[in-house]
Amino acid sequence: MPSLLLEIGVEELPASACYEAEAQLPELARAHLGVTPDELYVGPRRLGFLVDDLPERTEDEWVKGPPEKLRDQAAAGFAKKHGVAVEELELRDGFLGVTVPGRPLRDVVPEQADRIVGGFSFAKSMRWDDGGTRFARPVRWVLVKVDADTVVGTTSFGHRFTHGPVEIPEARAYAETLRKNGVEPVASTRREAIVSGLDAVGGWSDPGSKLAEVVHLVESPIVLESRFDERFLQLPERVIVTTMQSHQRYFPIEGNRFAVVINGGEPELVRAGHTQVLEARLEDAAFTFERDVAAGIDEVAGRLGSITFFAGAGSFADKADRLRKLVEQLGGGDASLEAARLAKADQASELVREFPDLEGYIGAEYARLAGYPDAVTSAIEEQYLPDSAGGPLPQSEPGKVLAAADKLDTLRTSFELGHKPSGSRDPYGLRRAAIGLLRLALEGGLTIERALLPDDVRDFVEERLESLLELPVEYVRAARASKAADLGAVARRAEELYAQRDSSAFEGVYTAYDRAHRLAGKAADAAAGQLDPGLLKEDAEKALAEGLSKVAIEANGDLGAALESGAQLAPLMERFFDEVLVMDEDEAVRANRLRLLLDVRDTLGALGDFSQIPR
C-alpha cells in the first residue's frame, strides 16, 4: 500500500494552537481523506501526519435517485444529470440510483488538502492575505507526498536558521529527513528530549507548568544550564521563580541555577545572552524590592490612604479599616487583627505593581522582614485563598478569618455599589468570592454568621450553596429558609434534612408543616397578630396549642431531636383538622385559628421551609 504525508507549514504557532491542532488533525484526516494517521507531526512551524497504508482509491459512493414508482417521470432527468443511460440505473430498496466509482486517492488529495487546511478551528485565528483562509498564524506552504510523488507543493523546510528548503525523498522518510535538517517534528519526541536534557542537569522544577509550552517553542531543543548572580537570592523566592518562568520560560534549579531550553545557536553565546536577560530582569525586581524594604511595610501601609480601592468604596486604607472590623465580628484574635491592618500594604508597594499575581505573598515577605510573627505573616499570605474552585484553603486560623473578611468586604461593597454580576459578566470575581466564603465555612470550619451578610449578598452567596453541595437543590432551598445562624449550619441543615427525609419523624413534621402552610400560608393577612388562648374553644385546638408549647426546636441543634419533638404535633394536627373548622363565622375565632396554624408552621419552619421539598 502507498503511504501519504501531509505537511502544513506555518509561521510560529502559539503552543495553545498546537494543542488545538493536535486534537483536530486525526478527525480532519478521517473526514476529508477517509484515513487514520499513523503518526502526527505537531510543532511551532508545521502540522502534519503520515498514513502508512493508503487505499488506492476512495470508496465507491451510492447516489440515491427517485423512487422506482416515479421511474417514468424522474428517471431520465436523474440519469442525464449523472451522465448515464436510464437503463444503467440500479435499483436498491425501492429507489433508483447510480454507483459513483471511487477516484484514485492521489487525484483527490490536492482539493482535500485545502479542505483540511481550512477545516481547523482555533480559539484565536487571523487573516494574513486576501486568500480568505483563517488560521492561528499564516500558512506558508503545504506539502503532500504519496510515496515518492509530490502531489502538492514542492519542498519542506528545515530549521529556520540553519537549514533551508528540504527535499523529502518519500513520504515515509519525512521525519528522518527533517531530523537531519535540524527539526524534530514529533512533539512527544521533543518533549522526551527536553525532559531527558533537564534530567541530565538534575534538580529542575516547573512550578508554573511551562514544559507544555516549551515543547512548542522549539523545533530543535537543546537544554542549557546556567547560573545568575548570587546577590539576587535576597529576592523573595517566588519573585525569582515568576521572573524565570512567566517571563522567560526557564526552569528553576536549586539556589541560583536554572535551565533554559533553546532552539539553536552557539551554546556559550546563547547561554550568556539568556543569563544576562534574566539578570537584567532580576536587577529590575531587586531595584523595586530594595526600595520597598528600605521603606518598610508599616511606611508602605501608610501610603494606602492615597490609593483608591474602588470608586465609591474609598481607599485601601478604608478597606483595611473595614477588614479589621470584620475580623473582629468573625471572632478573630490579635494576630488576625494585625494581619488585617497590614493585609493590603503590598498594594502600595512597587514590587506588586510589577508582579500583581504575587499580591499577598509579597506583603507577607515584607512583614516577615519587618519582624512580624508567623501567625501574622501567614495570614497575610493566605488572605486571597481559595483563589479557584478547587484551590487550597488557608491553613492558619488567622488566615481563614482574614480570607473570609476580605471576601465579605468585597461582596458587601460591590453589592452596595450596584455591581451585582449579571449573566456571564462578573468583572469583580464575586462568584469566586462567594464560593470561597462558603468553602471557608464548610471545609475550613469557620463560623460565619449569616447576620454579617446583607440580604442581597446573603441570597447571592447561599445560591452558590445549591451548586456546591451535592444534594437535590430543594433541600438546600429548604435549609436556606431555616433559622440556622451561620453558613456552615445552613449546609449541615440541608444535609441532615436530606439524610433524614425517610424517617417517620420527618414525615410527621413534614405533614404538619404542609397542612398548616397550605391552609394558613396564603391567609396570613387574615390571621391574628398573636395567639389568644382565651379564644380557643374546641378541645382539639386547645390540645394543639398545648402541644405546640411543648415543642422544643433548637434551630442550630441536632435535627433528629428537633424532628422527634416536632413530630409530636402530627397526630394533634390530624385531630385538629378532623374536629375543628378553621373558617369559623366569628372573625376573631377564625383569625386566632389561622394564627395557631401559622405558629405551627413557623415553629417547625425554624428547621427549614418544608414546602420546598417535593413529596
Binding site: M126, G265, V270, H274, Q276, F287
Partner: protein
C-alpha cells in the same frame, strides 16, 4: 561575531534606515505630539486603514509617564525609542525580510537563539488588535511583531505587518550593556548623557507636578475639539486631538487621579473618538477612490 565590535546607537538606527529604505519603505519622521507607541503615529494607525498599499519606517519617541523612575532604574524610562516598520499588505516573505534586518545590524542568525513567542497585541483605546509575537534574541525581547486585524474597530482591508523594534533593548543586546544609560549613543557620548536629566525632570513632572485639575479640563476640551473636527469631516486634525486625549489620560493616570472604575470610562471615551476618526478617514478614502474611478 560581527557585532562584538559594538555598533553604537545612532549607527544602529542608520543601519535600520538603510535596510528598510532598500526594501522600498518611505522613511518617515517621528510625530509632533506625544505618543505612547509608534503604532499611534498616523503613519501607522491611519495609513493601515483602507485599501491602499503603504510601506513605511520611522523612529518614534514613546512617552509613557507611568513608566518613569526618576532615572534611577536602569531599565525603566518614561521616554524611549521604537523603530517602527509597517508593510501593507504583508508580503509572503515578510518574516524573511525581518530576519535580514537583524543581519543588517550584524546579528548572525545561526549563532543566536531567535524565537517567535506568542504575544497578541491589543490597544483598547484605539479599538485595535492583532496577532503576533515578541521576538526573542537569546531571551531578550527585541521586537514586537503584529499582523493587524482591526483598527479603530474596523477590520483591516489589507493585512499589514507591523514590526516594532525596542531600540534600547536591541542596543543593550548589541553592545552587551546592562543599563540603557551606559549605551554608547555616538562615540564618546552615552544614552545617559543625552537623556538622564530628562528622565529625572519628567518623572517629577509626571508624578508630582502635572496639574490634575488642568489636565482633567484639558481632556474634556480635546475631546470636544475632536468631536467638532469629526463633524467637519477633518479626521486627520481630529486624530491629533485623540492623541492628546490619550496622553492626557496617561498623565492623569501617573498622577494617581484615575480610579479603576473611572479608567474604563476614560478608555471608552478615547475609543469612541478613535472609531470616529477611523470612520471619517475611511469615508474620505472611499470618496477619493470614487473620484479617481
Amino acid at each position: 561575531m560581527r557585532h562584538s565590535r559594538g555598533v553604537n546607537y545612532q549607527e544602529m538606527i542608520i543601519a535600520l534606515e538603510r535596510y528598510w529604505a532598500d526594501q522600498g519603505c518611505v522613511l518617515a519622521q517621528p510625530y509632533h505630539t506625544e505618543l505612547a507607541a509608534g503604532t499611534m503615529n498616523p503613519n501607522t494607525f491611519l495609513r493601515c486603514l483602507g485599501p491602499r498599499p503603504w510601506n513605511v519606517a520611522y523612529v518614534e519617541p514613546v512617552i509613557r509617564p507611568l513608566d518613569g523612575r526618576y532615572g534611577e532604574n536602569p531599565f525603566r524610562f518614561q521616554h524611549y525609542f521604537q523603530y517602527q516598520v509597517v508593510l501593507k499588505p504583508a508580503p509572503e516573505n515578510v518574516l524573511d525580510l525581518y530576519w535580514a534586518s537583524l543581519e543588517a545590524l550584524g546579528i548572525d542568525l545561526k549563532q543566536h537563539d531567535l524565537r517567535l513567542v506568542e504575544d497578541d497585541w491589543e490597544q483598547p483605546t484605539l479599538g485595535a488588535w492583532g496577532l503576533g509575537w515578541e521576538v526573542w534574541c537569546d531571551g531578550m525581547e527585541i521586537t514586537q511583531w503584529t499582523y493587524f486585524q482591526q483598527l479603530g474597530g474596523f477590520d483591516v482591508e489589507l493585512v499589514p505587518a507591523e514590526m516594532t523594534y525596542g531600540l534600547e533593548r536591541l542596543a543593550m543586546f548589541l553592545q552587551r550593556k546592562r543599563t540603557a544609560f551606559e549605551l554608547e549613543w555616538a562615540p564618546g557620548v552615552t544614552w545617559g548623557d543625552v537623556y538622564l536629566e530628562n528622565e529625572r525632570e519628567w518623572s517629577r513632572y509626571n508624578f508630582e507636578e502635572a496639574p490634575v485639575d488642568v489636565l482633567t479640563r484639558r481632556f474634556d476640551e480635546h475631546e470636544a475639539e475632536a468631536r467638532h473636527l469629526l463633524e467637519r469631516a477633518l479626521p486627520i486634525p481630529a486624530y491629533d486631538q485623540v492623541l492628546k486625549c490619550s496622553h492626557t489620560f496617561n498623565l492623569l493616570d501617573a498622577r494617581g487621579a484615575i480610579s479603576v472604575t473611572e479608567r474604563a470610562a476614560y478608555i471608552g471615551r478615547v475609543r469612541k473618538l478613535a472609531r470616529g476618526v477611523a470612520e471619517g478617514y475611511l469615508e474620505l478614502q472611499g470618496e477619493d477612490a470614487v473620484a479617481a474611478a
